[in-house]
């Protein structure tokens, strides 16, 4: 943890920004604006990572969440028909409220009861150690994740091919 007035101010600023953006996600009527607020939330979380001296995680957060996942969600919104883009009243509102209260009821006592303590000297995890752990101790989950992603990629390509294109490709193969 870095001491000083700067990080404290940064912490409070980031908290306000992130919480306001999260509120914006829920409150905004236009689904597109909701996603833009979500991007702000991601950026805020990247800022939090920076405060905790996890520099690589912050950059990875931006590259992965903002650069890829947010774009994915935006594309999904582009492809939804106009009628379902309203983020307003839904029939699920009471159910969502119940679930939210339940989760809050779980988390708030848990947070309150925990003995939060800052370690006196917590070393920032150097990037080399992170890499060694990921490719050493945890190599199996790492490879499983990459297999999963490859399967998703291939599946997406298969889903998008129209029957006409498949027909054309079969004909090309026969011709060759």
């Amino acid at each position: 943890m870095i001491e000083g007035a700067g990080p404290v101010a940064a912490f409070w600023g980031l908290s306000v920004l992130t919480l306001a953006a999260a509120g914006g996600v829920i409150v905004s009527r236009n689904l597109f604006h909701a996603v833009l607020f979500l991007i702000l939330v991601f950026l805020g979380i990247a800022g939090f990572f920076l405060l905790l001296s996890a520099d690589f995680l912050a950059m990875a957060q931006i590259i992965i969440y903002v650069g890829a996942i947010a774009v994915l969600i935006l594309f999904a919104i582009v492809l939804t028909p106009r009628a379902s883009r309203d983020n307003g009243e839904t029939r699920m509102a009471p159910a969502a409220l119940v679930v939210a209260i339940g989760v809050a009821g779980l988390l708030i006592p848990a947070i309150a009861d925990t003995d939060w303590r800052t370690l006196a000297s917590a070393p920032a995890l150097p990037l080399a150690d992170l890499g060694r752990e990921l490719l050493g101790t945890w190599v199996l989950p790492f490879q499983l994740a990459s297999v999963l992603l490859t399967a998703a990629l291939v599946g997406a390509v298969m889903l998008v091919r129209s029957p006409r294109e498949e027909q054309e490709e079969l004909e090309e193969e026969e011709r060759r």
């Binding site: 298969m158 889903l159 998008v160 129209s162 029957p163």
Partner: protein
Amino acid sequence: MTEIRSEPFVVNIGPQHPSTHGVFRIKVTVDGERVIDAEMVMGYLHRSMEKLAEERTYTQNIPFTDRTDYLSSMSNNLGYCLAVEKLAGIEVPPRGNAIRVIMAELQRLASHCMAIGAFANDTGAWQTPVMWTFREREKILDLFEMTSGARLTCNYMRIGGVAFDLPKEFEPACRKLLATFPSFIDELHGLLSENEIFIARTRGIGVISAEQAINASLSGPMLRGSGVAWDIRKADPYCGYEQYDFDIPIGYNGDSYDRFIVRLEEMRQSVRIIEQALDGLPGGPYRTEVPLALRPPKGEAYARIEGPRGELGYYVVSDGGPSPFRFHIRPPSFINLSLLKEMTVGGTVADAIVVLGSVDIVVGEIDR
């Protein structure tokens, strides 16, 4: 697997184009990136020239022909004068013919400069080739200004010959141009013809087979690009073309790249013709005297020339009066465009632009 529904939607290319082909509109229906239908809408530049020509005398109609295909005005004038001369039975002196040939071939050079530049622009070469070809075109336009007084709409040919004789500065200036032009064509060859990206953009795009081309009565580089050896200067010579020695370039497959290299080579052949014409320029009168209000005998005549874009034909019907009874232009661009749908369907929109560039249209003569 369920099929993901995608809707085709209509994209309007034009009438305001970034690629300078004039006021012309294509309604393209795309499905994703592929074109599935293309419909042309013409008429934005219609000026009813054919009707207006019926009110004016034969000589007064010559400036009209300038403005149909404004990029090859000398050739237009030539075609019209040939039609009227055929109708009235007027002979042109040999010096007049030679000057006509020089001007027509110079005009072919200028028009192809513009066509090649605009075509390269359509493929995205960001105006470098346009600037180079326009630099050469400026020299040709200077020559036109020297002889006829105008750069673009020359109004130089007259019924029975040409309007003015060649000034004495013309020949040295023309020879200077001819000396440097082949090296400029080589430069363009190196910049474009052998450029991998250019070939990738134009090869196999807009293919027309020879049979399709003949059936649709295409002409000019469109026809020759598909491998059909047909050039009116050889098949049906006019103005003494049979005395000059030149070749006709023809392509291989009929795609846009073939049309491009055919145009490039035609420029080389035009330089040959101009050199021969200048060398053998006869003396004597440059024009037969023709009355101002010419009254050709009743009848009809069709004369055709090999314009830069193809077969440019003029059909003139006379009823004995000072004005033509019917005056019709057979524009090469209009006929060449009839296969646009076949050429663009199946490709992408970017390909449609490249195909349109390779057809080399001038909307002035499509709409008249």
